[in-house]
């Protein structure tokens, strides 16, 4: 079953083409990593897929619903963990979870919150204000919040950016635990993150989706020794 179907997806900002006619299908339960250098169009693509901005041209179908016609219904089944920590700073961790449960009008919110507290081991920080938490904890809470509505589609925008090795490994473990249950679109600058976590990887260069495949397929295609070299070869057109 296809979870996301994108056809000729384009976004122009005045005379600049940020995303240039992307075609892509992502299967249900797949973890798809979107890679690219800065300004390649990854975040713009994620913003269009999550309904934050409208495409200039092209179509997005999510779980058989057209983004143009069923935006509000689609928003009920997706969630996003943005690049920067997206939590209310003066609210405690529990209040943040309750707030987002209210945003999605979750019926059995206490049960869902308890579930997330256990899954993310949030007990020790539950009553602490979000702004007092370390970067690692804030990111963990941010990802926990993004699961409050049991999303079918989850966008993780650079989830481990700026975290130390241990915090990163902890988050990898959590993301691995979600694989297969939720369709995840992950953007990252860390090659090993994309290689270890994703089922398939798409590489964007100057607004174009130039390659899609597993890490092994991309290494084979570029005749390189490892995935980082494969990425560099694709991103630079073999010039480096």
């Amino acid at each position: 079953m296809i979870a996301i179907e994108i056809k000729k997806l384009t976004k122009n900002f005045k005379d600049k083409i940020a995303v240039n006619g992307i075609d892509l299908s992502i299967k249900q339960g797949e973890l798809f990593a979107l890679l690219g250098t800065n300004g390649a169009g990854k975040t713009t693509t994620i913003k269009m897929l999550s309904g934050l901005i409208l495409p200039t041209f092209g179509s997005i179908v999510i779980e058989n619903m057209d983004m143009k016609k069923d935006m509000l219904k689609i928003k009920e089944i997706l969630n996003v963990s943005p690049q920067d920590t997206a939590i209310a700073p003066n609210l405690t961790v529990k209040e943040n979870l309750e707030f987002m449960a209210g945003v999605y009008q979750i019926n059995n919110k206490d049960k869902k919150i308890d579930e997330l507290i256990k899954q993310f081991k949030l007990d020790e920080v539950l009553n602490k204000r979000a702004k007092t938490l370390s970067g690692g904890w804030q990111r963990k809470v941010s990802i926990a919040i993004s699961l409050i509505n049991d999303p079918k589609i989850l966008f993780l925008d650079e989830p481990t950016l700026g975290l130390d090795v241990i915090a990163r490994k902890e988050l990898w473990k959590i993301i691995e635990g979600l694989k297969g249950k939720i369709t995840i679109i992950l953007t990252t600058h860390y090659m090993e993150e994309a290689e270890n976590l994703s089922d398939r990887i798409g590489i964007m260069v100057k607004g174009n989706l130039v390659e899609v495949g597993t890490s092994k397929e991309l290494i084979k295609k570029t005749k390189t020794k490892n995935f980082e070299d494969a990425f560099i070869s694709i991103a630079t057109g073999g010039k480096l």
Partner: protein, 243 residues
């Protein structure tokens, strides 16, 4: 209700900021107390006239802290997260407005408790004044949403301070407008702060004759225009911030 949920969150954010409580409540009460100790022989400084001025002064800080909250939300990724949720523009705007109503009621109640302790007559008019001031506060909240939607968190403090000063000097809470000159008085008549003050003063003193048709037209026009502008600008900014 999503707007109530958002309002609860905004209320917590606001009351947990000690600076906001100091400026919105403690500073106006301090001024009310101090000016009554000085005993200035001017009608403007009599409790029945100065308490409405203090209410408007307190509201100007509501504008300042609303603008900071909105600008802070825009600057953080929280609004990106909320932008991908099923929340609508009306949920945001009403959520911001509703979160401030309890603060307005607390503010007014404390101002009147202090004013009564200082000698203001206790009457049913106080209840009517609190009710009308809730309506008046919508203008100040809408100003805050508009400023917070237009400028960054850092700039919101500065722009908010300009509104505090404008409210002080053009409302007539400290001095009669005619003292500065007819030109200045005309400008004040065209701004909403003097009209807002006169409406509150008229209700508190049961002196409805001082509220002119111009006061009502100026106040309602500003409230409607600023409220509609804040909705449009907030909505557009949410889209443009995400580009």
């Amino acid at each position: 209700m999503r707007m109530i949920n958002f309002a609860k969150r905004n209320f917590k954010e606001l009351i947990r900021d000690p600076l906001s409580l100091i400026f919105e409540i403690a500073l106006p009460i301090f001024l009310l107390f101090i000016f009554q100790q000085i005993k200035i022989p001017e009608d403007l400084y009599k409790l029945e006239n100065f308490t409405p001025g203090i209410i408007i002064f307190g509201f100007s800080f509501i504008t300042l802290f609303t603008s900071t909250l909105v600008a802070k939300d825009r600057g953080s990724s929280l609004l990106i997260r909320l932008g991908t949720s099923p929340m609508k523009s009306s949920d945001y705007i009403l959520g911001y407005i509703l979160s401030l109503i309890p603060i307005i009621i607390i503010q007014d109640s404390l101002f009147f408790i202090v004013a009564c302790l200082l000698g203001l007559n206790v009457s049913i008019n106080i209840i009517f004044t609190i009710l009308i001031s809730i309506v008046v506060s919508i203008l100040f909240i809408a100003f805050g949403i508009l400023v917070g939607s237009l400028v960054s968190e850092k700039a919101s403090g500065g722009v908010g301070s300009v509104i505090v000063q404008l409210a002080c000097f053009t409302s007539g809470m400290y001095f009669s407008m005619d003292l500065i000159g007819k030109g200045f008085a005309k400008v004040c008549e065209l701004l909403p702060f003097e009209s807002a003050l006169i409406i509150i003063k008229g209700v508190l003193n049961s002196n409805y004759d001082i509220i002119s048709t111009r006061n009502i037209i100026v106040f309602i026009s500003y409230t409607i225009i600023i409220l509609i502008s804040s909705v449009i600008v907030f909505k557009n900014k949410m889209i443009s911030d995400n580009k």
